[in-house]
Subunit: 257 residues, 2 copies
């Protein structure tokens, strides 16, 4: 048993509960392993009751910054010895929340390294799709308003495009609507939700997007394809999983594709 195998990956679960499990699954799926014993060590803490809705906070509808509760989870993970941590929630990476998390981690003297999911999407595109210069962003209206992906991806010289207002409302509804949205119906997903995402992807492609980022952890539940038409589909949770494996044991990272 060598020291590499002892490194523990931490997951901030509960944002939401299924997104945490999805990240853990994608870590195991993308690890080179043929027995239980080959798999990387993972610790996940899901305490969603303490973590206020990230979008509602950014929209000013909830007062408590969820960054404090997220930092408390990281503190617990740090205490049991994780060396690296990921947060499978796009909106939690908005500076207004993320800066509180890193500030509290400093105050708690956390030793673990926090991986930034949005940056990892940029690095992933840069590594595997180097020629791509224009990507569409599918997300909730909350995430869209934080300008998260555009501000990150411009550092990688990638131009981002977003849906027009009508289409963005449809996309947001395909996530949140109580009658057919993916948050309410994920297994199986309603046809109307999937069709909305497919239409948005098609419009992005017509506008010249070479890739589309599925920038809400619920969207990959409806769209599991890696490519539709000429558009590559990028799953941020999958990018984060690969980054976490790379941090603890790059030799165990399954080649992409």
């Amino acid at each position: 048993m060598n020291s590499i195998e002892e490194k523990l990956i931490g997951i901030v679960g509960g944002v939401g509960p299924y997104a945490g499990l999805d990240l853990a699954k994608k870590i195991h799926d993308q690890t080179i392993a043929s027995t239980d014993q080959d798999h990387l060590s993972v610790a996940l803490i899901s305490e969603s009751v303490f973590i206020k809705d990230r979008t509602l906070f950014l929209l000013g509808e909830v007062k408590d910054n969820p960054g404090y509760a997220i930092a408390n989870v990281i503190k617990k993970l740090d205490k049991i010895g994780v060396t690296v941590v990921g947060i499978p929630c796009n909106t939690a990476h908005s500076p207004k929340i993320f800066d509180v998390i890193t500030q509290r981690m400093n105050e708690h003297d956390c030793r673990c390294k926090l991986v930034h999911m949005i940056d990892e999407v940029g690095k992933f595109l840069n590594q595997h799709f180097k020629t791509i210069k224009k990507v569409g962003i599918l997300s909730t209206t909350g995430t869209l308003k934080t300008n998260l992906y555009p501000s990150c991806l411009q550092r990688f010289d990638i131009q981002t495009i977003t849906p027009d207002t009508h289409m963005q409302n449809e996309v947001h509804d395909a996530i949140y609507n109580q009658e057919y949205g993916v948050k309410a119906f994920s297994n199986p997903v309603k046809k109307k939700a999937r069709n909305t995402f497919l239409e948005a992807i098609s419009v992005f492609e017509q506008r010249g997007a070479e890739a589309v980022i599925l920038g809400c952890t619920e969207i990959p539940l409806a769209i599991s394809e890696k490519q539709i038409g000429n558009c590559h589909l990028i799953d941020p949770t999958g990018c984060l999983a690969r980054a976490l494996i790379r941090e603890v044991n790059p030799q165990k990272l399954r080649p992409y594709g």
Copy 2:
């Protein structure tokens, strides 16, 4: 925020890695919740590299008792404040392993309560299928040899039946075979594996079984039905999930069925 909501459920992951995630998912699925914040708190530690194969140990092919490594995981979970713990592995409940776990928990002064998955299957049958007196056991040959289910279920006055040697070999192969077994091919499952389980269930039914226990965490990946013919199908991971919810917050337990 009341004290009930602060109770944390612990999961010994890694036995195997996907079984731990399956238990976490079934806890969330069976919780009455409509927002992230409604969900119960769960901590999962998956350190499969340290936990030797349970069946190989029982068959004498591996020397180290995996109970010690499992107890170390429980010690970590206890340290971060879980009040109750479950182990989603049938074989780990064999006395030769389980007794080491409870003994070490005592030595470590663990305060959390360890729920016994096999006992919970008995309680579940007793609560929801009170009239059932004869059940079939589908499991690996290793679990079969430990006599785990028969010795537990007889306390609930339930008779157990197992496949004949030929059929048991087929069932074991449908789990372990490198060409078509569920351990190697779980997504999607190979038709041959599923058909073997279906045939075994059919034979059990002909022999008078009113229910069949899917007594290996891989089998429910191939058989997701709750009933086939007149036979009720019992998923031990699902029973364990319900027990863990009941321990921390019984009001949040979704009614069965």
